[in-house]
Amino acid sequence: MKLSELLGKLSLNQKLTALLLVLAFLAIFMGDPYGKSRTAIETRELALIVQKEVDHISVEDLADWIIQGRADYRLIDLRSEEEYNTYHIPTAENVPLAELPNADLLRNEKIILYSEGGIHSAQGWFLLKAMRYRAVYMLLGGLDEWKHKILYPVIPTNLPPDEKDKYARMAEISRWFGGAPQTTEAPERAHTITNLPPPPPAAAAPSMPAKTPAKKKKEGC
């Protein structure tokens, strides 16, 4: 009875302020909002993603992003530290697969995983998905594909004129990353592995001007 009388005396603003104070006070005891997330795996959703093939990024797209100097992704090299030091894709960070669950990655970041082929990155992808990371992608074909398509692409000698531009661009990208375009399909690809360019510095800032204007980030205000 007394409470209702008191409430009657208050203006709407005062009532709302009182509500704010009550909620704010209770908040002290309610705990961490980041801790209450589900950990279950949405198996159907995962299967759907795999089936739709929206979970990977092509080496060509990644090369474009690196050249444009985009910073809205984290590129993770899942191989061992030794292999990472021998060669890694520019802008990549080294997180061996075993340490992936403890890595300093935020769940709202766009994360691209790669390994030598595709198996480790697929396993890492599943691991992060199970931990409810949303934007996790695999580099399609891994480092093998990167070597064959970006670093040492095969450029045929007698090109039809309408394809010249395409191959010229491929060669340009290859040289930019320190690779060398091949003129013919080499019988053995083994030499490409020993011939790798020196590993780029950890925070390699691409100095070449962007070929295409960088895409606007989708988020933020």
Partner: protein, 201 residues
């Protein structure tokens, strides 16, 4: 069903743009209703005559904060998926001061200038033209300021992490700050009204 809806794949890029249009119109509508389409009302803030801007903005902040906090504690919103603007401390301090200068000189902030332009105010259109001219000049000069633009990077920093406090406590402290600011604003407005009346007589 959990939020953020976009991150959970409830709709795609195109639909998110359509939704953004509606939210934008709603935002503009409420800014206009709060009286923020008038440069006089906004400028009055800086003379401490009319503290509506502070009250509306701080109310919006605490409402969003309380809402997000409780929704996430209840498990409806996954806060770790909500986008946070990364903190570049020094450039953002300078940017904030620049925005403040522009606000005092022009009588609008970027959002309210759109509202003013939409409600047919000429100064709003002039302000908008200046805004786009500024964006263009900034874009052209970007290479000169790029180093500074990305300096003092703190990552996606939040108050609880920066001060090492619990989230709930920060919610409480910010709410206290808001209530204090509301009380001070009301008190100041009354003082200024008395002073004005005295000046007139």
């Amino acid at each position: 069903m959990n939020a953020p809806f976009y991150k959970y794949g409830l709709f795609n890029d195109e639909v998110s743009l359509i939704i953004a249009v509606f939210i934008g119109i709603g935002f503009g509508f409420f800014l206009e209703r709060a009286g923020f389409g008038s440069a006089r009302k906004l400028a009055a803030q800086f003379y401490f005559i009319d503290m509506t801007v502070l009250k509306v903005m701080f109310t919006a902040i605490v409402t969003a904060m309380i809402g997000l906090y409780y929704f996430s504690v209840l498990g409806f919103v996954d806060l770790s998926l909500v986008y946070l603007t990364p903190t570049y401390l020094l450039p953002q301090v300078v940017g904030g001061l620049l925005l403040g200068f522009g606000f005092v000189i022009g009588g609008y902030c970027p959002g309210t200038s759109c509202v003013a332009a939409a409600s047919g105010k000429y100064d709003g259109w002039v302000y908008l033209a200046g805004l786009f001219a500024g964006i263009f000049v900034f874009g052209e000069l970007f290479q000169l300021v790029e180093k500074f633009y990305v300096s003092s990077y703190l990552g996606t920093m939040t108050l609880p992490r920066f001060f090492g406090l619990s989230y709930g406590l920060v919610v409480f402290l910010v709410s206290m700050m808001a209530v204090g600011a509301f009380a001070a604003a009301e008190w100041g407005e009354k003082k200024m009204a008395v002073k004005k009346a005295e000046e007139r007589s």
